[in-house]
């Protein structure tokens, strides 16, 4: 199942500048694995040994996966994933 993933500006160098890419997988974790094969290096920017990095949030629709089932959050057809990193500019 293909899911649209929104890529934030700081990670776009890894996706050839694209702000939306698609990836396959039935869970958020599987989608990230597939993203890694398509855009090597992106997984390390999103995850560390403990899971999603603590200055990055991954949303399915409007919900933060930390408050769903984390990387095990299952995806339904039409779900969109948004990667929302902390930004600090002022």
């Amino acid at each position: 199942m293909s899911t649209i993933v929104r890529i934030p500006a700081p990670l776009r160098p890894l996706t050839g500048g694209k702000d939306e890419v698609s990836a396959d997988g039935g869970t958020v974790g599987a989608v990230i694995e597939d993203l890694e094969t398509r855009h090597p290096g992106i997984k390390d920017r999103l995850l560390d040994a403990k899971g999603v990095r603590r200055f990055i949030n991954i949303y399915v629709g409007e919900e933060d996966v930390r408050f769903l089932n984390g990387l095990g959050t299952e995806l339904k057809g039409g779900d969109q994933i948004s990667i929302v990193p902390a930004i600090a500019g002022g």
Binding site: A9, P10, R54, E62, S82, A86, I87, A88, G89
Partner: protein, 397 residues
């Protein structure tokens, strides 16, 4: 026979309307019974004092404005004036307009005052202020009471840069009485692409001084306090304690986390804005400690959203990043709007909601923010109880 004189008219009206005594009105006020109290006297009389909670709807504007101000025609309404005559006439008019639950106080405010019953005095605005803020005064959500609250309020702007510039200008224009500006930098020509509070003629001047000039020229009602210092663990409490609302327009992660922790420790609401290239984020953090004081709902904090700052090597490379100048205007004015709403106690705040804006796609999105039960600072078992000075890294200013 139709009444022919004033005396006849009043006598006939008094028979038609339902009257309520001042003692009964006082009892209802004390027991907080739900009803709408309307003062139908002229604005000048109302300004000299009114019964607490009354809204002002002068009889001359009654028919014109009542349906907008009191849309529920079945609501319990009590009208009063100075002696009971004008309010009786007004009650008859409301009945003719279809209001079914209208009473009129007898006598009226003059006697109420003599009895020593409670009264409020609306804030005294000068003629110049009535003129300057007239478009606010026309809004029932602001009005004399709200404008006066703004004039007595104190907002601290962290950063007089991209976000702080538009936020400060609008807060000053709105008549927020005291604006603190914390910034240690001087105006640089490269700032002017986005930092619209400053000016070419003030390049090289301390930003707090340049800000004071701009804001006081815009609105001399506003007292501008410059804090020419970088916010750090040793001064954050002193700075925050003087203010009601904090507008965070800082430019680096260490300060963002420090601001959050101080907000939780000191019970201050923080309106957060941040920008990167073409993207912006805005949300409002109201920790429980602040919510109690303000009587508004609390929500998650910045650490519930992002528990820890990125290490310097993974933080977006700021020097190379760049930012669309106008983006600052969008996010900074959103922040100012939130600050004003907190001060007025009106509307729905961005508490528990992260508003993201992509200026290239021209899309706003809203993401849910939840309180993290394991939040290291605002959770039930906090592990962070003192200020942390994180390793500093780049700033785009």
């Amino acid at each position: 026979m139709a009444p022919t004189t004033y005396t006849d008219l009043i006598a006939s009206v008094r028979k038609e309307v339902k009257e309520v005594s001042l003692e009964e009105l006082k009892r209802r006020l004390d027991s907080k019974e739900p009803y709408v109290l309307v003062d139908v006297r002229e604005k000048e009389e109302y300004r000299a004092g009114y019964i607490p909670g009354a809204l002002s709807l002068p009889r001359g504007f009654l028919e014109l404005q009542v349906e907008q101000r009191l849309p529920d025609k079945t609501a319990k309404v009590v009208l009063y004036c100075a002696g009971g005559t004008r309010s009786a006439l007004a009650a008859k008019t409301l009945a003719e307009l279809g209001y079914t639950n209208v009473e009129t106080a007898n006598p009226g405010f003059v006697r109420w005052k003599d009895l020593g019953f409670p009264m409020d005095t609306p804030p005294q605005l000068t003629e110049a202020q009535r003129d300057r803020y007239s478009r606010h005064l026309l809004l029932p959500e602001v009005g004399d009471v709200g404008q006066s609250k703004l004039l007595k309020s104190k907002v601290l702007l962290l950063g007089a840069g991209g976000l702080g510039s538009p936020a400060a200008l609008y807060l000053a224009a709105a008549g927020v009485g005291t604006l603190g500006i914390a910034d240690a930098d001087v105006v640089d020509a490269s700032n002017l692409q986005r930092q619209i509070m400053h000016a070419t003629s003030r390049v090289g001047m301390a930003k707090v001084e340049s800000a004071a000039k701009a804001l006081q020229d815009l609105n001399p009602d506003v007292k501008v306090i410059g804090h020419e210092e970088r916010v750090n663990s040793s001064n954050v409490a002193r700075l925050f304690n003087e203010y009601d609302v904090i507008v965070d327009g800082t430019d680096n992660f260490p300060t963002r986390y420090l601001v959050n922790d101080a907000s939780v420790f000191l019970g201050k609401p923080v309106v957060h804005g941040s920008i990167f290239r073409f993207d912006g984020q805005c949300t409002t953090f109201v920790p429980e400690s602040a919510a109690k004081k303000l009587g508004i709902a609390s929500g998650p904090c910045y650490r519930c959203l992002y528990p820890e700052p990125p290490p310097p090597h993974l933080a977006p490379s700021c020097q190379e990043a760049g930012v669309l100048g106008i983006l600052c205007g969008i996010i900074g004015t959103l922040q100012a709007t939130e600050a004003i709403k907190i001060l007025l106690g009106k509307g729905d705040l961005l508490v528990g909601r992260l508003l993201t804006y992509d200026s290239l796609k021209m899309k706003f999105r809203e993401l849910k923010l939840r309180k993290d039960p394991e939040c290291p600072v605002c959770g039930p078992k906090p592990t962070i109880t003192t200020y942390i000075d994180y390793e500093g890294f780049c700033a785009i200013g």
